[in-house]
Symmetry: C2
Subunit: 253 residues, 2 copies
DNA sequence: CGAAATATTGACAATGATCAACTCTTGTGG
DNA sequence: CCACAAGAGTTGATCATTGTCAATATTTCG
């Protein structure tokens, strides 16, 4: 993802995110009232972002996987409009508000990279909207499983067609906008048809191409670990033009 | 929204977005294959962003109202994963890729503002996810109507409890994840219960507080026209620290 | 004015929700 | 290390919301 960054930028990012902390499952990383003056990067483990309605209905917005930023939105709004909770043991590193400000001021390419990351997340939310709005239970489930597979692959957490699956059926229901009962039936259907199977906290995607057909899944940039060539060029241009400016300053002296 | 920007920044933004163009309804502003080397700001009119599945099912992601950025995501990805089409006559101004690069390099607060704007849009998508995942037809419809009302109010397009409504029932269906027929019935229900009514291309929200109760609507920062105080402080800090650096440079000379 | 898009309504079907009972797994304290 | 409670998963029966099909207004626009 950060392939286009310079030595100097990577060094700064490393330093800024050096301080790590470990948390157990079920830990609240962001709570709604909480002033968002910290931005986290999830290094290992899973988390999920969700909202609840006044009457208790819950909707999961998305899952947070290693490499994802957490709390960017809360940072910019000064308040979070949702909660983020860890689903497994996890390690997170922290960027302070000061770091973020510094980043926008002195590391334009990093700032652009952050914006890129936000854009990627937005793409995931958009995909989730289509899933909920225009796909049925089976399609939704298959689609989510594939998306998670590809995201995990992109960050090199896995390579094969299976992964550790810490999502309970209730949580899956709150993700897919279904009832627990119906999720259970949908999973059974996937199992019966030899498509996918959860066993011992791990999911096995048995027939990926059929899953993809059912879900009309298109592996997009969501599961990509780095910016596309064009973007890199533009970001490189930022650096170039900065160099030009510096040069101009020297000449003026 | 841009209350915290300096004279210089506003001037640059005005200059960069000076070139305007007018388009009719049904015009494609962003198409999926299209390389996203332009960012637009919608100045007047409505547009909507949507995706289509291979079999033709369509899902609207959100509506674009005056003041909203268009194509930011496409810009950063180099490719759009959705389409944007105008719904009414509209005027848009354009930021080139060069402008965006320049912005990140030389106008950190503007870059932060853009990121803020993206965060705001992400909040809208999140709200849409909850709408689709955990609300029924009546709640969904009421909720959307209220959100549009508040967004339009925030950009001073309207003041009262009614607004021009260019959304057909088919489009509404594709937004709310329902069938046209059911949207029609839901609108009838809203009408019958004296809650809201479409008449002559205009919607009248007859009983806002009851609508809010039905939709469990919480007017959030989605309908806010500017960053909250905390964010402003942080952005101001960017400026301050830049000043400090400049000072340091002077001293070194 | 007439075609095409949009809106409306009824009858019926289907997807998914709810309720309730039961099993299986997991984690904890004695 | 066992017992047991709590959470998670499973299944059947029934209900409700929403979708589909089809026919008929109504509006819009060239």
């Amino acid at each position: 993802m950060f392939a286009f960054l310079s030595e100097r930028e990577l060094k700064w990012l490393d330093a800024a995110t050096a301080e790590m902390k470990t948390v157990g499952p079920g830990e609240e990383l962001v709570r709604p009232e909480n002033v968002g003056n910290q931005v986290f990067v999830l290094q290992t483990g899973w988390a999920y972002r969700y909202k609840v309605l006044p009457d208790g209905r819950r909707q999961v917005l998305n899952f947070v996987l290693p490499g994802d930023f957490i709390g960017l939105r809360a940072h910019f709004f000064g308040i979070a409009d949702h909660s983020i909770v860890t689903l497994t043991d996890a390690t997170v590193s922290t960027l302070s508000a000061f770091d973020i400000a510094s980043l926008f001021q002195d590391y334009p390419k990093l700032a652009a990279a952050i914006t890129w990351s936000a854009a990627r997340e937005e793409a995931m939310l958009a995909e989730h909207i289509v899933r909920l709005g225009r796909r049925n239970a089976l399609e939704r489930t298959a689609h989510l499983l594939l998306e998670l597979l590809n995201r995990l692959r992109a960050v090199d957490v896995i390579s094969g067609p299976s992964y550790a699956f810490p999502i309970t059926q209730q949580l899956l229901a709150d993700t897919l906008g279904l009832s627990v009962v119906h999720v259970n039936r949908t999973l059974r259907k996937l199992r019966m048809q030899g498509l996918a199977e959860i066993e011992g906290g791990r999911i096995f995607l048995r027939d990926i191409s059929r899953l993809e057909r059912i879900a009309s899944y298109e592996s997009s940039h969501i599961g990509s670990k780095r910016t596309p060539p064009d973007t890199e060029k533009q970001l490189a241009a930022i650096e170039d033009r900065r160099a030009v400016r510096k040069l101009a300053r020297y000449r003026r002296r």
